[in-house]
Subunit: 219 residues, 2 copies
């Protein structure tokens, strides 16, 4: 019975099922490793069509991870979903300021979302360079503002906010970054879907690629 | 511009959009509060069709929360996604043993998934009565075994494992519990989809209903 498979066998079997159901597709291998893990974590084949990578995003993201740049997430869920042993391998620190009492107080006083101030707090530490947004459109809009107005230079943006108000718009805004700042790698999708589990899955897929040191990552 | 709405306004607007897109539906109000929050957190309207509640599940789940029964999750993500202020209101403790080193070691030795032993560890504490499964089919199968073979009596099961190997089957197995043990409330869905964000959203919806003490919860 399939549930008696070991975890690595369950994953391999899942990937075989995903490959078979998707059939022929246009994704290069490194990008497909990311898209497939997004499908694996959500059981949602929409990601086979909706994901978008900036040119060189996988190679750039892998380089940022190998360089040990700190990861900032917009939710504690996304942070919880990132594979900790692989982070340790690269000496990567993670942080999320959305539940920080000082951030909550400042947000109330300023009349803005906690996500905006949490992103600002993460960007203030120059050791951080990987921004993972799985929930809040306002976090992604703020990150774009920090890039354009305050000179922040992320090594990778995973922009996958979810929802009905602003999520799709925030991702369309991220897509405009490619022409303007082609040196900043990003991975996102089109539409309302996304979420902390999918955002964490993208980072986990990149961490696996980053660990395959003998492999030359191209996308 | 919509992103300048306050968080509670964003949520209300999201709910209006969901109501409008779903249109007429057969869900009673209390169940709809749960289904709508699952859609809200995933932007996936499949949940309007796929969710399944045992008879009296919402009222039973609300009672278990008001009674302060401990919550056991299968993932740290699901645990991270549950609204902490509302838990404090009811004196509810949460636990997740999947990252426990002793559980990991025992799972390796026994050749079973960590999720199985993590569920067993949670069930061993009689203060725990609410089981939230957002990832691992093996955790849900093990919970059903604990109920049938070891006399565990959950006050609520949220069974929403996701994936391609065993997830749908584990939820079909949960559905067989209703005839056999009608006193155990459960909330689940049919098919492969699910996940930690949706499982946490179900608990958060029930916590909001539980906090509405002047409202008589029916479903």
């Amino acid at each position: 019975m399939s549930v008696h498979l070991r975890p690595e066998e369950i994953e391999a079997e899942s990937f075989r099922l995903i490959d078979a159901e998707v059939g022929p597709h246009p994704w290069p291998p490194a990008e497909w490793a990311v898209v497939r893990r997004a499908i694996h974590t959500s059981a949602d084949f929409d990601y086979a069509r909706s994901m978008v990578f900036s040119a060189g995003a996988v190679a750039g993201g892998v380089a940022a991870l190998r360089a040990g740049r700190g990861i900032v997430t917009d939710t504690t869920m996304a942070l919880a979903g990132i594979a900790k042993p692989r982070l340790a391998q690269f000496g990567i620190r993670t942080s999320c300021f959305v539940a920080d009492p000082a951030v909550a107080r400042a947000a109330r006083e300023a009349g803005v979302t906690r996500s905006i101030l949490a992103m600002r707090a993460g960007a203030a530490d120059s050791a951080n360079g990987i921004f993972v947004i799985g929930n809040a459109p306002t976090a992604l809009f703020e990150l774009l503002r920090l890039i354009r107005k305050e000179g922040i230079r992320p090594g990778l943006i995973v922009g996958l906010p979810v929802g009905f108000v602003g999520a799709a718009e925030s991702k369309e805004a991220l897509l405009t970054l490619e022409r303007e700042r082609p040196e900043i790698p990003f991975i996102t999708n089109r539409g309302r879907k996304g979420g902390s589990t999918v955002a964490a899955a993208v980072i986990n897929a990149l961490l696996i690629l980053a660990a395959e040191t003998t492999t030359n990552v191209r996308d």
